[in-house]
């Protein structure tokens, strides 16, 4: 391997990028855009959910309970109804996400120590329904304690570490960075070799003393730099605009990102050669990175909750390891040394991909 030839290819590749400002801008701006879309679109917590209340009696106690719910951050009493049917209709129409029915004898029963109220939930969005139920339970419990109910003999003292405010975007955004880098990395390089195959440049390259490792290294180098730039921009946006803390070191983030980028860039290069044309290659790169990184990386859906077979498949998804590393570096502040299994897994995937890519490159006609 001769560094001069690698440099010649890398310089040429950089010049292609500079000659095509549209694509270059896309490579730098797309991650930020995706970060915004995902950062705002994926919310797993509920804030000021609209609920409807039907008070069968207009006594002070019922009114107090309603005010207690309304005052919380989770709920907002958006409408009051004077019969059950109207409440049910509103739930069906989706005007409210949950309904609370306070019976006419609520005050008396509460004094007796045996009160009941009804919570009606819109189960179409099962996750939101579950969240609302948990919130409602907690708040009714608080209210009951305030009314002088006896403390239960056993109380769970909970402390949420690493994400004290239980903000879902804390958990999501580091994962979004992983998702975005997986897609961008593979997409960028998926076009590059296919383009040379389409335009016939390989005919010329094959008659020169250029070797396939020199060719691949030179091709990937500029994209690694762009990828790292993307990671830095994404980290900046995440920590400043979304207020997610970066508790680990930037160096740790850059190191694991370099490793992960090499994996996805290599994946893109392999796809590029297999596809042989830019159109097919970009589609293959999108599908093979986006879906696994979204669904099988543990980014939103915990790997541990998946069926066993699917869980095994996730071991082959490089984004899975990067998601874990990103979340840990951002929120837990631990370094890659503590999570060495993930690092080793990424190195292993990289080696396998590199071998496959160099082997496939033999068909290009370049020197070994």
């Amino acid at each position: 391997m001769k560094l001069q030839r690698v440099r010649a290819v890398a310089l040429k590749e950089t010049r292609h990028l500079l000659r095509d400002p549209g694509s270059l801008a896309m490579m730098v701006l797309m991650p930020v855009m995706l970060l915004f879309i995902f950062g705002y679109a994926i919310r797993l917590d509920v804030l000021e959910a609209p609920i409807g209340v039907f008070q069968e009696a207009t006594d002070g106690v019922s009114g107090e309970l309603t005010a207690h719910l309304d005052a919380s951050r989770a709920f907002r009493v958006s409408a009051r109804y004077d019969n059950r049917r109207a409440l049910g209709d509103a739930l069906q129409a989706g005007h409210i996400w949950a309904g609370i029915v306070i019976p006419h004898d609520f005050a008396r029963e509460l004094a007796r120590g045996d009160a009941r109220i009804q919570l009606l939930l819109d189960g179409v969005d099962a996750n939101t329904a579950r969240l609302l139920r948990n919130y409602a339970r907690t708040m009714i419990g608080e209210y009951a304690l305030r009314q002088g109910a006896a403390r239960p003999p056993l109380v769970l003292e909970e402390r949420v570490w690493f994400n004290e405010a239980r903000e879902s975007r804390y958990a999501i955004l580091p994962g979004v960075i992983a998702l975005v880098m997986a897609v961008m990395g593979a997409l960028m390089t998926s076009l590059t070799i296919a383009r040379e195959m389409e335009l016939g440049n390989l005919v010329m390259l094959c008659t020169t003393p250029l070797s396939r490792t020199e060719f691949l290294c030179g091709k990937l180098a500029p994209y690694l730099l762009i990828g790292l730039l993307d990671v830095l921009v994404a980290a900046f946006v995440t920590t400043t605009l979304f207020d997610v803390p970066l508790r680990g070191s930037l160096l740790a983030l850059v190191s694991v990102s370099t490793l992960f980028l090499l994996v996805v860039l290599m994946q893109g290069a392999l796809i590029s050669m297999v596809a042989g044309n830019q159109m097919l290659a970009s589609q293959m790169a999108m599908v093979s990175t986006f879906l696994p990184a979204l669904l099988l990386s543990g980014f939103v859906f915990a790997v541990q909750n998946m069926p066993r077979l699917l869980e095994y498949i996730t071991y082959a998804v490089p984004a899975r390891y990067y998601v874990t590393l990103c979340k840990a570096i951002f929120l837990k502040g631990v370094g890659p040394l503590l999570l060495w299994t993930e690092v080793v897994a990424l190195v292993a995937v990289l080696l396998l991909l590199a071998i496959a890519t160099v082997r496939r490159a033999a068909r290009l006609g370049l020197l070994p």
């Binding site: 440099r7 016939g200 005919v203 010329m204 008659t207 070797s211």
Partner: protein, 321 residues
């Protein structure tokens, strides 16, 4: 230092011995020998599918032969591929450089790929820009250049590392006559500087410009030699030329004559290929009588010297027989 009996006793620029290549059951190249001496322009001719491209790909080292040996300047192409590739220059028929890079950038890339040192890269790029008259367009994008300039740039890129052999695949296809002539002048100059040049071409007039020729057909070399020597060989099938104002009128009648093998029409003339072994004098009388009977009274009819194309057609017929 190895020496061997090649052209003039020196190591030939390129020598391929008994190379073959199959694709599945199809034999693309069937035991072909090719040697190009330094300073020689060697023409490889043949129709599409005759095996020219496969041969050139093997000589360039981008396709491994199934059998036989290839040496470039004495270096084994298969065993020392990297060193051998450093000694050849290749100009593809299609534009294979980078359209979004400038002329200078394309040259710089090539210098890097061939591993030239910084100083040598600078002087060689300078040389290419001057010698090929590309200086004025040095900063222009490759895809903005006219065809002739693109070919010259490709030539410059292939010559940057001062190769022993230069491969030119259909170098003049699609060019206007003036640009073609200029390119051939350049080819001669390069050959005189001691490079061995292998050219493929479709044009018979260009074949005459070569020092030596090889005609390929169905994967084999069916004719080889210097153009003059090939033309001087007597043909089994003599050729007559009939010149008459309206000679088309008698064409069908002439074609029916038993002595006539084929008639090639031209402007105001017919080229008449007789059957092998025909007595020319008797045939001239028969043809003249038939032509006169069909209105071509003031016809001039004589035996003519064969062209290179005639020679090749005759060879191909021999092979087919």
């Amino acid at each position: 230092m190895r020496t061997e009996a090649g052209a003039g006793g020196a190591v030939p620029a390129i020598s391929a011995r008994a190379i073959s290549r199959r694709f599945g059951r199809f034999v693309a190249v069937d035991v072909v020998d090719i040697a190009v001496a330094r300073g020689e322009v060697f023409g490889l001719l043949g129709a599409n599918g005759a095996g020219k491209t496969t041969t050139i790909r093997m000589l360039c080292g981008t396709l491994a032969p199934d059998g036989g040996s290839i040496e470039v300047g004495g270096v084994d192409m298969v065993r020392h591929a990297r060193r051998a590739r450093g000694r050849i220059g290749y100009v593809a028929q299609r534009w294979a450089l980078y359209g979004d890079l400038s002329v200078r950038e394309n040259l710089e890339l090539q210098a890097g790929l061939y591993g030239l040192g910084a100083e040598r890269a600078r002087t060689r790029c300078r040389w290419a820009l001057d010698y090929l008259e590309l200086d004025a367009v040095a900063e222009a994008r490759g895809d903005a250049l006219p065809l002739g300039f693109q070919r010259r740039l490709a030539l410059g890129c292939a010559l940057l590392h001062e190769p022993d052999v230069l491969f030119l695949d259909e170098p003049t296809s699609g060019m206007d006559p003036l640009a073609r002539q200029q390119l051939w002048d350049l080819i001669y100059e390069l050959a005189e500087s001691g490079i061995g040049i292998l050219v493929t071409t479709h044009y018979m007039d260009e074949a005459l410009f070569c020092d030596r020729l090889a005609l390929m057909h169905a994967g084999r070399v069916v004719a080889r030699g210097e153009p003059d020597a090939l033309l001087a060989e007597p043909l089994e099938a003599p050729i007559l030329e009939l010149r008459a104002p309206r000679c088309d009128a008698c064409r069908e009648a002439l074609a029916r004559l038993p002595v006539v093998q084929e008639i090639v029409p031209g402007a105001g003339r017919l080229r008449i290929r007789l059957r092998p072994g025909t007595d020319v004098h008797a045939a001239i009388e028969t043809v003249r009588a038939t032509a006169a009977a069909h209105g071509a009274l003031q016809a001039s009819l004589r035996e003519v010297a064969p062209t290179l194309e005639d020679v090749f057609v005759a060879r191909l017929e021999q092979v087919a027989a």
